[in-house]
């Protein structure tokens, strides 16, 4: 959910871009972190942990904690909280440690 009417801040409209999350088409603002666009779309689970298969989500927002590692355009371990969203990106859940050889 986007914040619209704020007493102190105003948020730039930005350029709308389309991307996919698990094959589903979503829209977000170009250049915002992928995590912000996913959050706006109500998506909270970003990956599952390697050992106990626990759901993991957004946590630190500054690229510190590794909670938000996802597969983006086939590449695993992308910190979506600090990676800018671009038109046509393919974003997927990451299972476990991710397979770098699967990247295309």
């Amino acid at each position: 959910m986007r914040i619209k009417d704020h007493p102190i801040l105003s948020f730039a409209e930005g350029k709308k871009v389309e991307f996919t999350f698990e094959g589903k088409i979503l829209t977000g603002k170009e250049g915002e972190p992928i995590a912000a666009a996913l959050h706006d779309a109500g998506i909270r689970v970003l990956r599952h942990s390697p050992r106990h298969n626990r759901p993991r989500g957004f946590f630190c927002a500054i690229g510190n904690c590794s909670s938000c590692l996802m597969v983006v355009d086939g590449k695993p371990n992308v910190k979506v909280c600090v990676t800018p969203l671009q038109e046509g990106m393919r974003v997927q859940y990451q299972k476990g440690k991710g397979d770098i050889n699967a990247a295309n």
Partner: protein, 168 residues
Amino acid sequence: MLKKDGVPSPEELEGVKPSQERLEEGPVVIVECMQEIPCDPCYYACPKEAFRPFGDINEKPEIDYEKCNGCSICIANCPGLAIFVLDYNYSEKEGLLKIPYELKPLPEKEEKVIVLNRAGEEIGKGRVVQVLNTKKQDRTAIISIAVPKEILMDARHIRLIRGSTDEG
């Protein structure tokens, strides 16, 4: 008690209240800043020099109520949003309360609002008399609300009635 839950006790409040005589003389400030913290913009904001100069910026503000004319410039200059202006004699039955307000939407003139006390409890209804939001205030609006005299000393915030979902 402030340090326990953020709500001042009657004893804590006693220390920052202008006298009843001063209240009845006309508009006056009440500065609900009861902790020694490093902060001094109120002193610089006042055109009447009603705030005594700070020796150490951690001192609590001290007010010369004879110099204060209730002009309200200090309200939007307090980073703690702890300054209010009271006009006890606004009308026969109503007092006027001026509060800092940094929420959206802003109330409108003549709008009826719910009046809240320092603990956020509903204590009555009020009527918005003025909404000031000039450039100088830097996005801290000042809302003037006419409230029954008997709740003037307890009223410190408002909630809009329109669009409210939790009013029952």
